[in-house]
């Protein structure tokens, strides 16, 4: 039963951080190249444009949810399982979500990269 709670927590962390990453990535694509915008309109314009983006706001909220899910999951399971499992699944989840929702071209090269990193992160727990 405790294992079920731990894996529920891991899935909750993964889901919330994938949602957060996708929303933040979309927000920053809408803001546009930060360096170019800074040179053109100044730092205040960059900050205002970023903070005023609704996707950015919801993305940060999702990241906060992921953080608190992590705290709960850590009270149910070991840090050596929860940390790497959630980080590893997030790499795979992000590759799927970026393809579907951000229309990024996730070609074979990127699938292999995401899978290798996910496997590597999982092994770091050993």
């Amino acid at each position: 039963m405790k294992g079920l709670y731990t894996w529920g927590g891991i899935l909750a962390i993964t889901f919330a951080s994938v949602v957060g990453d996708v929303l933040l990535a979309r927000a920053m694509k809408q803001v546009g190249d930060v360096g170019a915008l800074w040179r053109k309109s100044g730092l205040i314009a960059v900050v205002r444009r970023t903070l005023g983006n609704p996707h950015f706001f919801f993305g940060v909220t999702a990241m906060a949810v992921a953080f608190f899910s992590l705290l709960f999951a850590l009270s149910w399971g070991d840090v050596s399982l929860v940390g790497p499992a959630a980080a590893s699944l997030t790499y795979i989840g992000n590759a799927v979500a970026a393809k579907i929702f951000l229309h990024e071209r996730v070609d074979r090269r990127r699938w292999i990269a995401a899978s290798l990193v996910a496997a590597g992160v999982a092994l770091l727990a050993g």
């Binding site: 546009g32 990269a113 590597g120 992160v121």
Partner: protein, 161 residues
């Protein structure tokens, strides 16, 4: 991708790894925090390691957002996973901790993954980021690049006005 952009990616990697390491070091000094004693959180922030850790994580967030403004999520995430490798080297050679063979294998896999991503393009060029479903089959065509550029310029001038 120019030198400055690689510098930002390096910043994401280093700030995340250093921030996590400092937070973890500081939190081990302050001890456990429970939901029932929230004032201990304030005490934890007063610990210099924790304070510097938080500053570094803010720097991480800023550089991460900057990178996402000109590169794909599926590029930035694997590219910055080198932080794990960095942490392992710090643990092994500065802190003289034991790193198991399984961990070295994990580090090799991560490095290989980063190598794979580094050879490819950083950004998928879109006519419009927000468009749903109707994506062009040839993203690399000069026309799409031109459209994406006009969109960016348009967005920039929108701010100015």
């Amino acid at each position: 991708m120019n030198f400055r952009k690689y510098l930002v990616l390096a910043g994401v990697t280093v700030f995340a790894a250093a921030g996590d390491a400092m937070l973890s070091h500081g939190m081990k000094q302050t001890g456990n925090i429970s939901i029932h004693h929230l004032q201990s959180v304030i005490l934890a922030v007063l610990n210099p390691w924790v304070a510097v850790g938080i500053l570094l994580l803010l720097a991480f967030f800023t550089t991460y957002m900057t990178a996402l403004s000109w590169a794909d999520l599926t590029y930035v995430l694997p590219a910055t996973s080198l932080g794990y490798v960095l942490l392992a080297f710090v643990a092994r050679f500065l802190l003289h901790e034991h790193v198991s063979p399984l961990r070295w294998l994990g580090i090799a896999l991560i490095t290989g993954g980063v190598g794979f991503i580094a050879g490819g393009p950083a950004l998928t060029e879109h006519p419009r980021v927000e468009c749903s479903g109707a994506t062009s089959p040839s993203f690399d065509s000069a026309q799409d690049k031109l459209l994406a550029k006009t969109r960016r310029d348009g967005a920039a001038s929108e701010v100015e006005s």
